[in-house]
């Protein structure tokens, strides 16, 4: 008796075996991963693909939006009245600052003209609404409802009523991706309001508080200090509130102090954000010496160079 053949007869074959297919598609995926992470070749492909998917992405939002609409529709008369009263009170409280702002702005403009300082930020700003938070569990990102159609460009700073939220990192035709200050290694150049000490605030990833890195153990920083943007990176305008120092560990055995901070803005809560206009072109950076160039790793974003 003939032994049964291990392979099915030739007329049952349908193309290459699953293992061959897996090897082919696996290698293709790895090539794509490299092209995307190392060289960023695929941004244009992503732009086109996201534009094609955009209607679907919006349609999927509809049930959630409908639910929240129904929720607000049935909010009580009393709640609305309370809200209204609180907002009016807030408006009156802020009146002195607003009324004084025009004078301050004029003074500032005159002083700048006097000192021949460069006007670094256009006043233009775009209000946007958060469409949805990113579904990637490894990154801290949100998507907002305006993009290239409203003149948003990558690199613009994004704030809410309380402070800095993040930075625009990708722009699609009708939406934009905002990387939050809590995203791992997202850097914001800051200074301590009380003393003027400069540092850089680095995000630490999901569920962890951002920290001030590379600050000497004897730097004049205390728990509760307010940190504002220093404006020296050319991305974030100076003076925007960013975070407050929460814990402070000075260990003389270490090179740097461990300082964690809590963002002031509702980074993971705010629905209405403001995209600030991009900075006017800065003068080009002077060339760095050749040997320093080779030892330094290239920064990914503009904001990394600050500090």
């Amino acid at each position: 008796m003939r032994p049964l053949p291990a392979e099915p007869p030739a007329f049952f074959h349908r193309g290459p075996s699953p293992l061959a297919r897996l090897a082919f598609f696996g290698l293709l995926s790895i090539a794509l991963l490299f092209a995307d992470t190392r060289f960023r070749y695929l941004e244009n492909v992503r732009l086109v693909a996201t534009s094609v998917l955009y209607p679907l992405l919006r349609v999927v939002q509809v049930p959630a939006e409908a639910l929240s609409y129904v929720g607000t529709y049935f909010s009580s008369q009393r709640e609305l009245a309370d809200d209204n009263a609180a907002l009016k009170r807030l408006l009156v409280e802020q009146a002195p600052a607003v009324q004084g702002f025009a004078r301050l702005q004029k003074d500032g403009a005159e002083l700048k003209a006097l000192l021949a300082l460069r006007e670094r930020y256009a006043a233009a700003a775009t209000t946007v609404e958060v469409l949805y938070t990113g579904r990637d569990p490894f990154a801290q990102k949100v998507f907002v409802d305006k993009g290239a159609d409203s003149g948003i460009v990558p690199g613009e700073a994004v704030i809410d009523v309380d402070g800095v939220v993040g930075q625009v990192t990708r722009v699609f035709p009708f939406m934009a991706e905002v990387t939050l200050v809590t995203d791992k290694d997202h850097a914001v150049p800051v200074k301590v309001v009380r003393t003027g000490v400069r540092s850089v605030l680095y995000g630490s990833g999901t569920g962890r508080l951002p920290e001030l890195r590379f600050t000497a153990p004897n730097a004049d920083v205390e728990v509760g200090d307010l940190l504002v943007t220093s404006g020296i990176d050319g991305t974030y305008p100076a003076g925007l509130a960013v975070a407050r120092v929460v814990t402070l560990e000075r260990d003389t055995g270490q090179m740097f102090a461990r300082i964690t901070t809590r963002p002031l803005a509702g980074v993971d809560r705010s629905m209405h954000l403001l995209v600030l206009g991009s900075a006017a072109a800065l003068p080009p950076r002077p060339d760095e010496p050749a040997e320093a160039d080779t030892t330094k790793k290239g920064g990914r974003s503009k904001s990394r160079r600050g500090g």
Partner: protein
């Protein structure tokens, strides 16, 4: 002529021969899975939400290997990468491995009762999530929260219900005249 009677909503026994699934039905369910993955859930619902597309891919790789295989899984993974705005190729690689795993499991997994199938599905879904985790951590991303392990488990819990539901149109229709 007697009206066809709807088949009962309980799992098909391994001996029962199911009718082949219609191509449009496979496509429709995969499209629904993709849309399900795009749904903007937050908070607890977001943490519990399984990877619907992976689950459906796994089901069809087992039940309809003529339509859905490694190549289809890879393409849908690319689509998921665009929808999630993550790295190009991370879901593609994970889904391709998942489809290969399904090919490997296919012949024996249906012999088990549904809850034992679910346990094996959990392993495959965890493998899929593990590949994404490996790719991202090697790429320099921080470790996600512990809730990252929940979606494969919730996906596996959905497996019995999903199997019964998706088998239903494939059950042979018994007409009243047969009785």
């Amino acid at each position: 002529m007697a009206l066809p009677r709807a088949s009962p909503l309980y799992p098909a026994s391994p001996e029962e021969i199911l009718r082949p699934a219609a191509a449009w039905f496979v496509l429709l369910t995969l499209a629904l899975g993709f849309v399900g993955n795009l749904l903007p859930f937050g908070g607890v619902a977001g943490a519990l939400k399984p990877d619907f597309l992976a689950l459906l891919l796994l089901y069809w790789c087992i039940q309809a290997p003529r339509y859905v295989g490694v190549g289809t899984a890879w393409l849908l993974g690319l689509l998921m990468d665009v929808g999630d705005a993550t790295l190009f190729g991370q879901h593609a690689l994970a889904y391709a491995v998942l489809a290969y795993g399904a090919e490997y499991f296919r012949r024996r997994v249906l012999r088990f009762p549904l809850w034992q199938q679910a346990a094996q599905v959990a392993v495959l879904l965890a493998l899929c999530a593990g590949i994404v985790l490996l790719i991202r951590v090697v790429g320099g991303a921080p470790l996600p929260r512990w809730t990252y392990v929940v979606p494969p488990l919730s996906g596996a819990l959905l497996w019995p219900a999903l199997s019964v539901l998706l088998q239903w149109p494939q059950r042979p229709v018994t007409s009243a005249s047969d009785l």
